[in-house]
Amino acid sequence: MSLSAKLALQQLKTSHKKTMWTLFGIVLAVGMLVAIGNYGASGADTMSSIVADIYGEAQGEGWAGFISTFSVFFGVVIAATAIIVVSNAFRVSAGERTKQFGILKSVGATKKQIRMTVMYEGIFLSLVGLPLGFVAGLVLQFLAVLMTNQLMNTTAHQLSFSLYPGLSVIAILGSFLIIAVSVYLPARKAAKISAISAIRGADELKAKKVRPKNPRIIGKIFGFEGTLAAKQLKRSKRHFRATVISLCISIILILASASLRTHMGVILDGRTEQMGDMSAAMQFFTPFPDTSEINFTSAMDITQALREFPDANVRLHASSSYSLLGYTANLAAHGFQDIANVIVFEPEFHTELAQLAGVPIDSNIIINVELEMDAAGNFIQHIPFSDRTGEIVAVYPFEYSLGRNNTPAMAGIANEPLHIEIHGQITHLPDNMLLLADFTGSLIVPDLNATHYFWQVAATDPLGFLEYAESVFNQHATLQVGEVFVTLDVIDELAMTVAMIDFMSAFTFIFSGMIALLGLTNVISTIAASVQMRSKEFAVLSSVGMDKKGMGRMLSLESVLSSARALIIGLPLGVLIAYLIYLGIDLLPFAPFTIPFNTPWELIIACALGVFITTFVIMKVSAASLKKGNIIETIRGVE
């Protein structure tokens, strides 16, 4: 064994406590990468097959791609955190030995030999860490799958534990690369320091020169111990940087995943409530220009036929391929921006709406109601714009093309507008309309050459109904090119959405937890190392009369000040990202109502307490081990 290897081994043995934590960090990082590779892949497989069952292969593949991207994103975050944490551990370890390297250099060690001394530490730790990490990865994946299935709490869709050899190999190679980079950087730096500055401890000298800006304020508040703590933090800023970054990352991820889960949960609850007893839905789209056999009259015939199925309650509404662009421009001036539709309902329902609006039966009625869900989960209706009764609006027919999985997407606007006079408005939706889609700004007309027909069904046997519906539809219309008939098992669809959201948030939650754990190993090894390195300073302080209480106070202050930095950066960023996620969810087209932002106070407090308590406990434990040794031993130990 070469001297460099031997020195590395001795170093690992001597500071075995720190070595264990570094190794733990490496094992955790490797494990997380292996786990996320396999977990992400099996998640993508499971989820895409669930989606494919309902929406078809193409949509399933889309979801698989999304989950894969999500996993890769998480993989990158984990890898970055791992590099920060692992390289910090090696940097601290190399920094501790600056003087030793100086001696080695003056005895004639070359740059390469010094570099290899640090590199071998990484090589030895990899030899143990990579296989252990792989095993840990399998355990983590198993736990993650278990937890996910627990969190998803739907028996229909279960994530399975499966191993992807290719991905595992990539994860291991990636981890090796991460460790190599993490070790190489501090190794190169250690080799670069000139012999003379290593002997004189130039690094330490330089660090001691730093004068914190406001120790006086802190000193006034916390006394002399506070001043010392603040100075020390300035000195070891770099050591704590990795801690601050990894804590920030986990705080951000935890807040983000909580935001995802809470807000999606609110929307899902609202949607479940809105759908009421609805269990199936059918949609029919005609091509543009309209060459369809279906018109509103034949759609009503289909509706009648559908109602013959036992225990089925069928509702029809149809909309035109007209958008209220002209009207929207008007509404924009009043702060309303949605592109709304022209819609026709069955005559009985139209009559009901006309009565509600207080206008004659044949009137055109605008829906001037917006739904919002309040914090308690109740729907509030409010009026988004002023009364436009009496106005004549121009609506433009729009073309649509069929997108992925045959869902129509707006493609363009045809020229000739349709002019419609508004006769009245509805400012409060009847209960049975709450259950429909987002109608805010829609114009309800008594008669329309519609292009989009939509049936909502409450049936005790939704699958049987859907089968029956298809036969009814085929009796009444022959599908032509461009026409689409889509049937949806709403219950199944909802369950899928729930499963998907549960999966995504379980995913985020589990892995942000692991990143927090990775950050924690860094906290422990950094604090332990810094206490160790300063044992001489402590000995000097106590030899000039600082008592144990004072020393304890100094350490506690240090932990409080260093965790405060992580919180000051992490919490606002986390809340900001949580808010951005909320905005994204609120704007989702699939939520026909707006929801309030839920400030995650409990989590913010939990994060703050968690960070404070862990750093505090670690400091106390490290300080306790320090106090055991007597002053002389401590001074000699460092020499």
Binding site: S2, L3, K6, L7, Q10, Q11, K13, T14, K99, Q100, I103, L104, K105, S106, V107, G108, A109, T110, K111, K112, Q113, S194, A195, I196, I199, R636, G637, E639
Partner: protein, 226 residues
């Protein structure tokens, strides 16, 4: 024959007003096998000189020839290997690698070369410094004087042509200091190794062949003893 030749050696630290001329155009040469004591007030530039002689630091200008070789023309790894094979350096404190045993610390120049010295040599040195029973101990388990003896044994193991010592007895009691000094003088006399030692102790300086007094980075006095 001159084993060591120093020409116009200058070392300045800092710039402008804060500039310090730690060494200012110092020239001298040392004959093989002689014992030179370097004395001078604190901050006069003694350690700076020693670091330059050992090739641990690089001068602002000037040259150092050891055994006919201009050491600062060598690249860093060449210089490291040269140091390993031709020089022995002893500092006032912190000379040992804390994770290596006493024995391993002594063998360090060999280990760096990837060689193993023959066991007899190591044992002989251990016996010489009187620490045969402490061979397997770690530095933290040894007294200050014992640690210093180990570092001198290390400086002797590769039979270097030049031994450089910076106050090797500075933080030891007089008995241990005397032991260390005897060791170094013995090496100087018995193996004809050149010894350059910084010291504050006049009695020690008087045991040398020649005393160089440094003041403000310049040679103030250079006198033969006896």
């Amino acid at each position: 024959m001159n084993i060591l030749q120093v020409e116009n050696l200058t070392k300045t630290y800092g710039k402008g007003e804060a500039q310090v001329n730690a060494l200012d155009e110092v020239s001298f040469s040392v004959e093989k096998g002689s014992f030179v004591a370097v004395v001078g007030a604190s901050g006069s530039g003694k350690s700076t000189l020693l670091h330059l002689l050992g090739g641990v630091d690089r001068p602002t200008s000037g040259k150092v020839h050891i055994d006919g070789q201009d050491i600062f023309t060598m690249n860093e790894s060449k210089l490291a290997i040269f140091r390993r094979r031709n020089l022995g350096i002893v500092y006032q404190f912190y000379n040992l690698i804390p994770t290596l045993t006493a024995e391993e610390n002594i063998m360090l120049p060999y280990l760096l070369d990837g060689r193993k010295p023959n066991g007899a040599t190591v044992n002989e040195l251990l016996e010489l410094i009187g620490l045969t029973d402490r061979a397997k101990h770690l530095p933290s388990e040894l007294s200050g004087g014992q640690q210093q003896r180990i570092s001198i044994a290390r400086a002797l193991i590769n039979s270097p042509s030049v031994i450089l010592a910076d106050e090797p007895t500075g933080n030891l009691d007089s008995k241990s200091g005397k032991d260390i000094l005897e060791l170094l003088i013995m090496a100087n006399k018995r193996y004809n190794q050149t010894l350059i030692m910084i010291t504050h102790d006049e009695k020690i300086a008087l045991q040398s062949d020649r005393i160089i007094t440094i003041s403000d980075g310049q040679i103030l006095l250079d006198e033969e003893v006896r």
